[in-house]
């Protein structure tokens, strides 16, 4: 028995290691990105700027400016064939120009992550019963679940945000709650956005989970019922543990989408990454630098999410259950 256990563990470890060493560059990027974020947030939020002033970047701009001007001079002296050197100079110019804005964007990244994580996690809590209702429910529960899904998948997310923010008393109610908008706790618009993403994402997630539940063979529930489990317990202990594993790839897609769609929250004044970028850009007129930078930050978030989901998939993999044969 001992050996059996260790081979199972060994296999999972190997799979995990393979998944990570496959893409050392991604791993390195993500590790660097998160080190920077965590140090930045700790300094800004917890240490009250003890390491470095809140608005000052950890990275100096001078070396990049120097490199840019040297290379720029070189490119000019090379004449018409100097253009590749000119591009490199341009890249350093971009770095020098955008580095000062990194601290403010890091704050936006915090809001974006919080928004996405809360939206997807709360949405998941709704999506599971929703998808179970779709697959195993009676006529009524099934049509209610279907109606919900169609409504939230069939209308624009932006419209849902606006309706919740402007047309419902939600904003006022949340504003009156204690502590909202003070210290670490974001203001009401953020929470309205969380609710919108939760409701919207639940609809999409339930579609992924529904089709995953459908791919669990019928005999599994029959066998569960045959040993005396109720239908609900059979779904809980037998169908869901398998179905949720099948759902991981689709569910990862939804996470990646939500990271990017969270930028829509800027339309209801949530100070997330996109809103921060736009605000600084319209003050400084450095639109190109700032939006390229924001794009890179979103990319780093998406890479982190993919890596995380790959890890989770390996972690929960079971021999012979769909996702292992990657």
């Amino acid at each position: 028995m001992g050996t059996q256990e260790s081979t199972t563990a060994g296999r999972t470890l190997r799979a995990r290691a393979a998944g990570l060493t496959d893409q050392p560059l991604t791993l390195l990027t993500v590790a660097g990105f998160w080190t920077w974020l965590v140090v930045r947030w700790t300094n800004d939020f917890l240490l009250d700027g003890a390491l470095i002033d809140r608005n000052t970047s950890f990275f100096p701009t001078a070396p990049f400016e120097a490199a840019a001007s040297t290379l720029g001079g070189l490119a000019a002296s090379l004449g018409p064939v100097g253009f590749p050197v000119g591009w490199v100079a341009g890249f350093f110019e971009f770095l020098a120009a955008s580095i000062p804005y990194l601290p403010q964007l890091a704050t936006g990244v915090w809001a974006t992550i919080l928004l996405t994580v809360l939206g997807i996690a709360l949405g998941f809590v709704i999506a599971v019963p929703l998808s179970v209702a779709r697959v195993y429910g009676g006529t009524l529960t099934r049509s209610v679940a279907l109606g919900y899904t169609e409504l939230f998948r069939g209308t624009p997310l932006l419209a849902q945000l606006f309706v919740l923010y402007f047309a419902t008393p939600l904003t006022t109610i949340i504003r009156e709650l204690p502590a909202v908008g003070t210290g670490f706790i974001p203001a009401q618009a953020f929470w309205v956005a969380v609710i919108a993403f939760m409701l919207n994402s639940a609809a999409y997630q339930s579609e992924y989970i529904r089709s995953a539940l459908n791919s669990v063979p019928e005999g599994q529930l029959t066998a569960a019922r045959a040993i005396g489990l109720s239908k609900v317990d059979g779904i809980r202990h037998v169908v869901l543990p398998q179905g949720l594993r099948y759902a991981i790839p689709g569910w990862s897609n939804e996470l990646v989408y939500l990271i990017k769609y969270s930028s829509l929250a800027s339309f209801i004044t949530v100070r997330e990454l996109f809103e921060r970028t736009d605000a600084i850009a319209s003050e400084t007129y450095r639109y190109t630098e700032l939006f390229v930078l924001a794009g890179l930050l979103y990319l780093a978030l998406v890479l982190s999410a993919s890596l995380l989901m790959e890890y989770v998939e390996d972690r929960v993999a079971i021999p012979g259950l769909g996702t292992t044969s990657r």
Binding site: T8, A223, I227, D233, P241, G320
Partner: protein, 250 residues
Amino acid sequence: MSDPLLALDDVYKSYGEEQVLSGVSFEMDAGDVDVVIGPSGSGKSTMLRCVNRLTEIDSGDIYLDGDCVTDADTDVNELRKQVGMVFQDFNLFAHLTALGNVTLGLRKVRGMDKATAQEQGYEHLEQVGLSDQADSYPAELSGGQKQRVGIARALAMDPKLLLFDEPTSALDPELVGEVVDVMRDLAAEGITMLVVSHEMGFARSAASDIIFLDDGRIVEHGPPEQLFQNPQAARTGEFLSRLETAHEEE
């Protein structure tokens, strides 16, 4: 006279227009091993599924140990604790190890704590000769091993009656033996079994009675010697000789 362990009394079942069971009645005593044979579509699986109410009957009564289990107010989950089922295509819980398969019912139905359930689970895996595969997942087991885990899973609930629906017909011929051996052991231990199977070796050696079902009716019901040597109905003889030819062709 004590009650029979299982009694079917004039059971009818139809799917839409199609009459699948037409007045099935028989009884078996505790410790009996009855083997059900019959052509494809004759209603064998349906009959088994009616006993643990995976399928609801249209009319008639089914009694388990004296209790009418087809009453509307019978708790089906209670009933199923007492009636184990072994499936043709195993239906092992794919996300659980062999031990996990055997202990799920103990923990979630019987409410046992994990340690006790595992201890008992090992014993049942031992009973089917698979204690060394306790930590293997279904995908890592051979067909014969899967079916033995399926049997251990049913046994773990300590049922009064075990139902087998063609337990060996999805197996490669060379794997049939290990499953039949386990079933023979159970029969010898006095476990009451209702077995749909065309494994005639098992029927001959282990069956108390053989039930020949055709077109939703019991055509013949009697001890193996009688059915094999001296079938009362012409159809029984025909069916048995066809089985024999099919076997020789294999």
